[in-house]
Symmetry: C2
Subunit: 263 residues, 2 copies
């Protein structure tokens, strides 16, 4: 392991997990910056020897890599405020922002963990895929080494590819969560326990992910072209106009896609 | 355990798992009926002492409970062909069909395992919720006992409730699978490995199911009202017209639902 001193700009969910994982791997986190000193202190107190700070002047810092991990819409403005030491590498952890959001600095990169983080949920960081991008080869090498010291799966991913990844993740994760929310809402309104569906949901996901090709394990009335059942569902959903729309459009899409994706 | 002799009408995925679980629990399966004798024989050969048959005349059978487990649209017609012994209980295993699909017979019920079955996937039957319905109390008691001998979670569920369950399952499972299929398709077309998303998908589901209220853990551009990101996604999706529609309608629905479901 090459130890790389690091500073975190931000102390939210992603910083919380990354800082502790990198610190535990032997890269000493030097500073934790947050607008709220309390947040910075809370994270720093969980690290080996990190100093919490509210200052954006890091000209005296020993860190080599500065990791910005704050909401997307604040990354560009904070990057303009940061004063970094020579040879510093500045990266962000966003799945959405392009590399050139950091363009005011010389050596820049993206250090994007493809996972959803909650502060109080344990996570096996070794299983999290890291997507790395950099504006020069030296920077890329440092970032790949850094990521490989905490994760088994590290990929070089361009900004264009990262955008595709993010869109695919919106469908597979954000939208999937919303379908579960709709399902929960219908069950609740009709006086049924959502937890009844848990084993079925878990097995559905396991089957889809195990199959390699989710379309090949599609089940339900739409793929069976079971019009009678679909008609009775649409009848029921008259009281749920938004869900009715979603039911129609996704059923149509299932019918169109069919099982043909196997090639 | 009260041993209940059983006969299976059908030898598909559901019959495959149920027959073996019930047989293993000590309820001797007497006969396995299938239109294809080969299918009936294959399942029967995995059971303690079952006879495969193509005949619908069961007047000489020792079975008490007859479990129809065949495609929904064939249940009613087979139930009219069946000749059962006196005191027989006839049930189906469908999530969709009403109890009265079996109305030609005297003691009837529904024995619905709320799970998706594949022949060659092992399954912990103890974790599968069973939804029971019957047209009289004696029948209900027999079916509840039967279900409890193989599962930890057995519920009495009316035909109306079962319909709601099924609709909720279409959203949470069938439609969720389709979103994964869309995500897979986009990744593949753009030359990226779908497996990259697996850890994120798994964590999303764990978080949603762990939260009790999926809407409370909604993430992504729609819930953040991040118009800039959504605009760039819609731009990209111009080459995917169906997916574009789905993106719009689900994003709108996420925005409408918000986090307000917590009550």
């Amino acid at each position: 392991l090459v130890e790389i001193p690091i500073t975190f700009i931000g102390a939210g969910n992603v910083a919380w997990h990354l800082a502790q994982a990198l610190d535990a791997a032997g890269h000493i986190v030097q500073e934790v910056y947050s607008r709220k000193l309390e947040s910075a202190s809370k994270l720093a107190s969980n690290l080996y020897n990190a100093t919490p700070t509210q200052s954006t002047d890091f000209t005296g810092s020993k860190a080599r890599v500065f990791i910005i991990s704050i909401p997307d819409d604040t990354v560009e403005s904070i990057s303009l405020q940061l004063q970094l030491p020579p040879h510093a590498i500045l990266v962000h952890t966003s799945g959405t922002l392009p590399l050139d959001a950091l363009t005011a600095h010389k050596s820049i990169g993206v250090f994007y963990p493809l996972q959803t983080f909650s502060k109080y949920r344990e996570l096996e960081i070794q299983q999290v895929p890291f997507c790395i991008e950099a504006n020069n080869e030296d920077t890329e090498e440092v970032l790949v080494n850094l990521a490989q010291s905490i994760s088994n799966t590290v990929y070089l991913v361009s900004s264009a590819e990262r955008k595709v990844l993010h869109i695919a993740a919106v469908f597979a994760c954000n939208f999937t969560n919303h379908l579960l929310a709709i399902s929960h809402q219908i069950m609740k309104k009709e006086g049924l326990e959502f937890s009844l569906l848990k084993p079925l949901i878990e097995e559905t996901i396991n089957k889809a992910l195990g199959s390699q090709i989710p379309a090949s394990v599609q089940t339900g009335p739409a793929i069976r072209k079971d019009m009678k059942t679909m008609q009775s569902h649409l009848e029921f959903l008259k009281n749920y106009p938004t869900e009715l729309q979603i039911y129609k459009i996704i059923s149509d899409s299932i019918d169109k896609m069919g099982f043909k994706i196997n090639s």
